[in-house]
């Protein structure tokens, strides 16, 4: 990579970030060269990728911590529009988040990818993994439209290749294809949005308008700004899996190798959040409040729909993927609120909402990464993605189970883990709606709070199901389990993520103080002035009297009570005897009688059934003579996303219909073709006259 000529020896955050990206490209190259020694390639490449990710984390933490903005111009790209890189606190924040999860996942991958040895060549996996990471880093660092889109698409393409890594399976191909198409159409929309912005921006030369700096200086007429925003939001929403553009997500994320799923769900989606914040708060800057309302409403919709669909899944990774839809929704609630508060000029509240959104971004990255890593370990151990074929794994793989449980608690927004903190902040932001001058918003936003509460409770239900069915009870599968515990690198990767979950949950004030500079830059107010005014232990957004939370004390409190009770009871412990299950005296209990994922979700399916496309088939083969006693009973359940039929199928149908009609143009007869030529001339002649 080529830097600007003024070489100073002083190394700043952006140089470190650039070094990290260059390193990833080198590692990709290295992996290609090490084609014939796969084992070495895996260890070395993922180790180096982990180092590179760590560099990015350092760069990001530094950039946010110092609150400075650095720029460099790379001498590649178009000569008149070289690639601009800029590391400001917002970029730094996302760099940290992406880097951190990449670090955990890279460590995890050292162990995970070894599972493919002997089955298939992993070279392409390693190469595209590195490119994928590099793409994500570049997206947040890009400071002109061209570089942004190049990075954006590199990220999309690399992840596409990762999704079709196991390309013999039809479902993988289908999912990858769908993913790529949605991503690309979204990218074109983003491109057009930049086109609008660049049209109003003035810079040196013909191409000067494409730099973000030029856009920051520009003034946009509100109608054009709206066009730009809607286009960009469409594009980013497609990437983030916002309802109703989410359909690709639960298809594509599960079929990728699990380390890749972790990154895709954990951080790739966040680049879309980054894009939305960048475009609205940084580039357009002045916007009407209803933009925020659009974001907020779609966020709420995604949150609720995401979790409901997740509940219906029995594919472990698909379930997790739907939860990404949900969490992106929660993040968007924060971002949307921040936009609303900003446009009504209430910077402090906007800061709270924005921080809530960003905090959830960070949290979701960590716990979703953790969960996918855990799922990867499970699938690795059982060769099974269907939860109905799992169960009792906690006995075989205690590490994975415990760490996975941490992820489950975090994502279910339960204290003292991290998911709770950000949802709590979001609740606080939602409850500030009375300060808004718009009566409609005043009224509707608390409804949003109720929906968010519903989401949280459903998520908890869903993860009871996910954890319970996968790890608890007896083995449900038909073949014998040969489940084995995950190897050390995998455990290490998950452990680090789990500890991060706890850290983020217990010590939110540190992180909020650290990232406060972003809020200050974009909405003009700091949250930390009020949020951590009572010391690091107390999180008090807006004011001490409004609300407060202390993760440390919750954690310590529970631990103290538990240990006290435990000690107290074990002064004179009663004996513990292992006995067969009682089950109200039922004797012939077997593993097929357990509740499984489908039955667990049945009550909720009954209640929210109208949202799904449910097809239930019960097939009873009666016993000869005794109608009441079935000999065999088959139950088949198929749940589809309604949006498939409402949006996607019609689009595909219309496309093929148009295509058929267009085909009629070409009937094979040369006279007809000549006639076209003839008519074209005549029409054009009439047109020019």
């Amino acid at each position: 990579m080529i830097f600007t000529p003024d070489f100073k020896l002083a190394v700043g955050p952006i140089e470190i970030a650039a070094a990290s990206i260059s390193m990833l490209f080198v590692v990709a190259l290295l992996a290609a060269l090490l084609k014939n020694s796969q084992r070495l390639a895996i260890t070395l490449s993922f180790f180096l990728a982990a180092v590179a990710s760590l560099l990015s984390v350092i760069a990001g933490i530094w950039a946010v911590g110092s609150g400075t903005t650095n720029q460099i111009v790379l001498l590649i790209g178009l000569p008149d529009l070289p690639f601009h890189m800029r590391l400001d606190p917002l970029a730094g924040f996302f760099l940290t988040v992406i880097g951190a999860l990449s670090f955990f996942v890279s460590v995890y991958s050292i162990g995970y990818v070894k599972g493919y040895l002997g089955h298939r060549s992993v070279t392409s996996l390693v190469i595209f993994y590195c490119l994928f990471l590099a793409g994500m880093f570049m997206v947040v660092l890009a400071d002109d439209a061209l570089f942004f889109l190049v990075s954006w698409e590199i990220m999309a393409a690399a992840s596409y290749f990762l999704v079709i890594f196991e390309n013999e399976r039809v479902e993988n191909r289908r999912a990858a294809f769908l993913y790529l198409v949605v991503a690309h159409v979204g990218a074109i929309a983003i491109l057009l949005s930049f086109g609008v912005l660049a049209g109003f921006a003035k810079g040196p030369g013909n191409f000067g308008g494409y730099t973000f700096d030029a856009m920051r200086q520009a003034h946009f007429p509100v109608e054009w700004a709206t066009v730009a925003f809607l286009l960009a939001f469409f594009g980013f929403a497609a990437k983030a899996g916002v309802v109703p553009l989410h359909v690709w997500l639960p298809e594509a994320h599960p079929v990728a190798p699990s380390n890749v799923s972790a990154l895709m769900s954990g951080v790739m989606l966040k680049t879309a959040i980054y894009g939305i914040i960048r475009i609205t708060f940084d580039l357009i800057r002045v916007f009407p409040w209803w933009w925020g309302a659009v974001v907020l409403i779609l966020g709420l919709l995604s949150a609720v729909m995401g979790v409901l669909y997740a509940l219906m899944q029995h594919d472990l990774k698909k379930l997790l993927a739907y939860h990404s839809v949900e969490n992106i929704g929660i993040i968007l609630i924060g971002v949307g609120l921040a936009m609303i508060f900003t446009s009504f000029n209430q910077p402090l509240y906007a800061a709270l909402a924005l921080i809530a959104g960003l905090y959830h971004t960070m949290n979701h990255a960590v716990f979703k990464g953790l969960l996918f890593m855990g799922a990867g370990a499970v699938i690795h151990a059982t060769n099974e993605r269907n939860m109905e074929e799992m169960g009792g794994l906690i006995h075989h793989m205690p590490w994975t189970a415990t760490l996975f449980l941490v992820g489950c608690i975090s994502i279910s927004a339960l204290p003292p883990f991290n998911g709770f903190v950000s949802e709590w902040l979001t609740f606080q932001a939602l409850l500030l709606s009375p300060s808004l001058p718009s009566p409609l918003m005043k009224l509707l936003i608390p409804m949003g709070a109720a929906l968010l509460a519903l989401t949280g409770a459903l998520a908890a239900a869903c993860f009871v199901k996910a954890f319970g069915v996968t790890f608890l009870g007896h083995w449900r599968g038909h073949h014998n389990p040969h489940a084995h515990e995950a190897n050390w690198p995998m455990r290490l990767g998950m452990l680090m993520a789990a500890l991060t979950c706890l850290g983020l949950g217990v010590l939110p004030t540190f992180f909020i103080e650290w990232m406060d500079v972003i809020a200050e830059q974009f909405v003009g107010s700091k949250l930390a002035a009020s949020a951590s005014i009572h010391g690091w232990m107390w999180l008090t957004p807006v004011s001490y009297h409004r609300a407060s939370y202390s993760g440390v004390i919750v954690l310590l409190g529970i631990l103290i009570v538990i240990s006290a009770v435990y000690l107290f009871l074990h002064v004179k412990p009663g004996a513990i005897r292992r006995v067969p299950i009682w089950d109200c005296g039922f004797e012939k209990i077997n593993q097929r009688m357990q509740y499984n994922a489908t039955s667990f979700a049945m009550p909720i399916r009954r209640i929210f059934g109208f949202l799904f496309n449910v097809r239930e088939e019960v097939n009873v083969v009666p016993h000869a003579g005794h109608k009441a006693f079935p000999k065999r009973l088959n139950y088949r359940l198929r749940i589809r996303d309604r949006l498939w039929n409402w949006i996607y199928k019609p689009i595909v149908g219309i496309s093929f219909w148009v295509s058929r009609k267009v085909g009629k143009l070409q009937q094979g007869r040369i006279q007809i073709y000549l006639l076209y030529s003839f008519i074209t001339i005549i029409i054009l002649l009439i047109f020019v006259r």
Binding site: G663, K664, G668, I670, L674, L685
Partner: protein
């Protein structure tokens, strides 16, 4: 050098007359059903074209037009009809060819095209001060009629004939609008035409072998419609 100056209006009358003959042959080709008849008409058209070119060259005192007249004569009156005759005999082509649209209809469309050509070239006519300016409409009409003929016929040979008729129209346009293009261009065009003639000759054989006839109706296998 001695030169007999003809009154301008007489000259333009003669040119117009020749133009009318070209147009007439074009119409004749449009309705002619027999292949030999078509070739004969094409030969006549070439002859009129050649005469016209030579005459314009004479009237306007442009000697290079004699050369292009000669070119036209040799190529379109002698060589191409000869090649076509040979091909038809070799390939034992049926003498009748059916049209897609019936003759009166074709005629009507043809007349409409002439009117359209006249209408389109009207502003150009105003600009020009050449004797030949009024023949531009005829040239365009000939091109259009050639195209129409290609559209309404189902036979490879008639398609080629239509194509050649269009080429005639273009030649006519070149002479009538501008007293001819520069010679290098005229030669180049003639060379291309010659090459095209060889190619369609080869094609007739290929098509005949592959499809057992020269009707283009069978050549509709490559298509999108299903």
């Amino acid at each position: 050098m001695f030169k007999f100056y003809m009154p301008v209006n007489v000259a333009s009358h003669i040119i117009s007359f020749l133009a009318a003959l070209v147009l007439l042959t074009a119409f004749g080709m449009l309705v002619q059903k027999r292949i030999y008849g078509l070739i004969r008409l094409f030969t006549w058209q070439g002859l009129f074209l050649s005469l016209n070119t030579a005459f314009v060259g004479y009237v306007a005192n442009k000697h290079h037009l004699y050369i292009s007249a000669l070119l036209t004569l040799s190529l379109k009156v002698i060589l191409l009809p000869y090649i076509l005759h040979i091909l038809i005999q070799r390939l034992k082509i049926r003498k009748e060819v059916e049209t897609i649209v019936n003759v009166p209809m074709t005629m009507l469309i043809g007349i409409a095209l002439v009117i359209l050509s006249y209408h389109l070239t009207a502003p150009i006519r105003e600009l020009s001060n050449l004797t030949t300016r009024s023949t531009l409409a005829v040239a365009l009409a000939t091109v259009m009629l050639g195209l129409l003929m290609m559209i309404t016929r189902k036979h490879a040979v008639t398609e080629i004939m239509g194509f050649l008729a269009m080429e005639n129209g273009l030649f006519f346009a070149a002479t009538s609008a501008t007293y001819g293009m520069p010679l290098v261009v005229e030669f180049g065009v003639a060379f291309d035409l010659l090459m095209a003639a060889f190619i369609f000759g080869i094609f007739f054989f290929q098509i005949n072998t592959a499809f057992d006839s020269l009707s283009v109706e069978q050549m509709a296998r490559l298509k999108e419609d299903d």
